[in-house]
């Protein structure tokens, strides 16, 4: 038994309407016989059979519009008899119901309401498209307000150098920032840096004043000690974080043997004042790993805003309680020695509460390291509006399987807490993997 199907008579023919059967069930068909007449968008066409046989049963009725490929009639070989009527009913009926493609029914339906299905589809589509288009144009507008006009070349250079564009005046078309403007700003920045160092040196020479009198980061309200105000500030920030930031946590155990060996060898050749701490490696590794996951180096303010500079907020705990998180600016551009110098500068000042407010507000990602003899792992709370905090537990010896052998190795458990609004675990994992790679190559840090 074979089916005679609605033939395809042209690439542009999608369906045909049966107008007339030319053969009756029981008729003997020869190849080339006209079996039916079908109406198409090009007019009435006689359709022929290419195989002989006896027309067994109609599968569609006159007036039915069916897509190309729909069985129209079943044929049986010459010399066989028809299937008993009862069986036919059982067999054919389901075919009609099931095998008629859904499209066909849809076409019939849409013809009843007198809308060609194709047009209807496109109508629906355009209707759907509309709101989304509006949103996108709105987005565009608001985006444009904040947009800085800059040539692609200038942007490339600025990004490479992590140059903040907000202060640069453009001299290109329509006030766009061009290469020359960026280069000028970079030269200015270099000078500024130079001045900053000078300032610091002068500051260092100023005799120390008693703690009480020293400037605090947040102006302390009358009657409240600096410590109390820091505690309060930390409390507020952490509560806000807990309330608003959906944290996700990832952890990775990192083998520190190579890093520590390198550190030991390096420090051996150095005077004590020039020696490095493991934290330096952590800071530099984090800064470098951001390349693999730039979205972690960002703030969440009306959406995610990626930061060009990598300023690592380093958690300094105060012996009197509370923490301060001064930034190590442009950590990716600093050498490990320079980072150590930064730490030497910043930690004592933090402890003495002599930080500039800018140093507390410029971090783009936070790093907390428990140092020796601390807990094995630390699960940080993100410091808003940042979107990530990386936590280093104490370096401890743990059994590690190496080439099938069990060995004790110094390891550190690194955790990443990420803002799930901004990034997801995949980004975080990529970051931790990169971090691991960097720590396995300490000499390149």
């Amino acid at each position: 038994m074979t089916d005679f199907k609605m033939p395809s008579l042209g690439a542009d023919m999608e369906a045909g309407t049966l107008v007339e059967w030319r053969k009756k069930p029981g008729d003997l068909l020869q190849p080339g016989d006209i079996i039916a007449e079908v109406d198409t968008q090009k007019g009435l066409i006689e359709i022929e059979v290419f195989e002989g046989g006896i027309l067994d049963k109609y599968l569609i009725e006159v007036g039915d519009k069916v897509p190309v490929g729909t069985p129209m009639a079943s044929l049986r070989p010459e010399g066989t008899t028809g299937v008993p009527a009862k069986e036919v009913k059982e067999q054919v009926h389901p075919i009609q119901e099931k095998e008629k493609p859904e499209e066909a029914q849809a076409t019939e339906h849409s013809e009843k309401v007198n809308i060609p299905s194709k047009e209807k589809l496109s109508e629906e589509k355009s209707f759907k498209d509309k709101p989304s288009e509006e949103t996108s144009s709105e987005e565009k507008l608001s985006e444009e307000k904040h947009r800085i006009k800059i040539s692609p070349l200038a942007r490339t250079i600025a990004e490479k150098n992590r140059l903040d564009l907000s202060g640069i005046t453009g001299t290109g078309e329509g006030g766009a920032i061009i290469k020359a403007d960026v280069e000028k700003a970079m030269a200015a920045k270099k000078e500024e840096k130079h001045e900053e160092t000078l300032e610091k040196k002068i500051e260092e020479q100023v005799p120390e004043r008693p703690v009480k009198e020293q400037k605090t980061t947040e102006p302390a309200a009358a009657g409240i000690s600096p410590q109390e105000s820091i505690r309060k500030a930390v409390a507020a920030a952490m509560s806000l974080s807990n309330r608003e930031i959906p944290h996700y946590y990832l952890e990775k155990r990192i083998d520190m043997l190579k890093a520590l060996t390198w550190l030991k060898e390096t420090n051996q050749q150095r005077e004590i004042s020039a020696r490095l701490m493991p934290a330096v490696l952590f800071i530099k590794a984090v800064a470098k790993a951001i390349d693999s996951a730039p979205a972690l180096n960002a703030v969440w303010e009306n959406g995610l805003q990626l930061k060009n500079e990598i300023n690592i907020g380093f958690v300094v705990s105060l012996r009197s309680g509370g923490i301060l998180v001064p930034a190590i600016k442009n950590a990716d551009l600093k050498s490990t020695d320079e980072i150590m110098i930064s730490l030497n500068d910043i930690i004592p000042r933090a402890r003495a509460m002599r930080l500039r407010s800018s140093e507390l507000s410029e971090s783009t990602i936070t790093l907390t390291s428990l140092g020796e003899n601390g807990a094995d792992k630390v699960f940080g709370v993100i410091y808003p509006p940042q979107v990530a905090i990386v936590g280093f537990g104490s370096i401890i010896d743990e059994p590690v399987v190496q080439k099938g052998m069990l060995a004790f190795r110094p390891v550190v458990h690194v955790t990443l807490a990420g803002d799930h609004r901004a990034t997801d675990g995949l980004t975080g994992s990529r970051f931790l993997e990169a971090l691991n790679n960097h720590l396995q190559n300490p000499e390149t840090l």
Binding site: P7, L9, G10, K42, G43, L44, I45, F50
Partner: protein
């Protein structure tokens, strides 16, 4: 069928076989089209077989042939492999144009078969140019260009005939007048319906022949080809014929009467020729039976070849645009 000169029994059988092959091959193509194995346009030559058969059997292998988009039969008559033609219509890379052309663009350089040209009349100037090259290079071959009567209304027809006559180049223009340019009847296209007279306007020797009668076509073609070959001048041969099938597959045939088609079918060139051969004892029923068996096998072989063919990898898409990147 009287007054025809005798033909060799073997040649008679070959010609009958060739016409039957064209017919059965195209019927199979139509079937495969409805099954979506063949796509695009499919123009069938059914009814007109005597023209291609009669003209091409007079040619030498070195002669150039240019056809239209209704050229399956011409390719078969020229000896292009049926499997390669079928594979071409499937779009497989084993096709005679590597699948890039399809039904309308059959090419076979080895057989000097230059398409498969689907812009009506666009290939006529090329035919004149090819004949010009033959003349300049003293090749001694001729160019035969098939086209429909629709093409004779195009400017390029007139330009090509004018140039051919002006330059006196060996080209035979064969007009297959099947009375309809798609759906527009001859009387609605041509102010002067005796098409052979259009050749005379350019000083080109012309003739018209009953294109439904193989023997008459052979006779007229032989005369025309001999003349072109011996004088090096162009010739216009109009073959009056009829296609039994629609213009292409998707054609409701609103423009002609069923009765008219039935009338022409009575003059089907294939049964006509078969009856003649039987009557003249040039063939017997047994031989015809064998022939039909052979045909069945050849067509099945062609279909199997096409089915087994392979799709050209998509990364090769950019090929055949410039010779440089056309290595296969």
């Amino acid at each position: 069928m009287e007054n025809q000169k005798n033909i060799e029994p073997q040649k008679a059988a070959d010609l009958l076989y060739q016409m039957l092959l064209m017919r059965k091959f195209e019927e199979k193509s139509a079937e495969l089209y409805t099954k979506e194995k063949i796509r695009g346009f499919l123009h069938l030559y059914i009814g007109e077989e005597a023209v291609a058969t009669g003209v091409i059997q007079t040619l030498k292998p070195e002669d150039y042939i240019l056809g239209t988009y209704r050229e399956h039969a011409h390719a078969l008559a020229r000896g292009v492999d049926a499997g390669a033609i079928m594979a071409e219509m499937y779009g497989k890379q084993e096709g005679c144009s590597r699948g890039r052309g399809g039904s309308m663009h059959l090419f076979d350089k080895e057989k000097n078969f230059f398409g498969g040209n689907a812009i009506v009349s666009g290939h006529l100037p090329m035919a004149t140019g090819m004949a010009l090259a033959s003349k300049k290079l003293k090749k001694g071959n001729i160019t035969v260009c098939f086209f429909g009567e629709g093409a004779a209304a195009e400017g390029e027809f007139h330009e090509a005939l004018n140039l051919a006559s002006l330059w006196k180049v060996p080209v035979l223009f064969v007009c297959e007048n099947n009375l309809y340019a798609m759906g527009t009847a001859l009387r609605y296209s041509h102010s002067m319906q005796e098409l052979e007279k259009k050749g005379q306007a350019y000083g080109i020797e012309s003739a018209a022949v009953d294109g439904m009668d193989l023997l008459r076509v052979m006779e007229a073609a032989t005369k025309a080809v001999d003349l072109v070959r011996s004088t090096g001048n162009p010739y216009l041969l109009v073959c009056n014929t009829y296609r039994f099938r629609a213009h292409s597959m998707f054609d409701a045939e609103l423009y002609r009467d069923k009765a008219e088609v039935e009338e022409w079918k009575k003059r089907d060139p294939i049964p006509q020729f078969r009856e003649y051969l039987l009557k003249e004892n040039l063939i017997n029923e047994e031989q015809i039976g064998e022939m039909e068996e052979r045909l069945k096998q050849e067509i099945q072989k062609a279909v199997d070849f096409a089915e087994a063919g392979t799709w050209e990898p998509e990364e090769d898409l950019g090929k055949f645009v410039y010779t440089q990147n056309s290595a296969s």
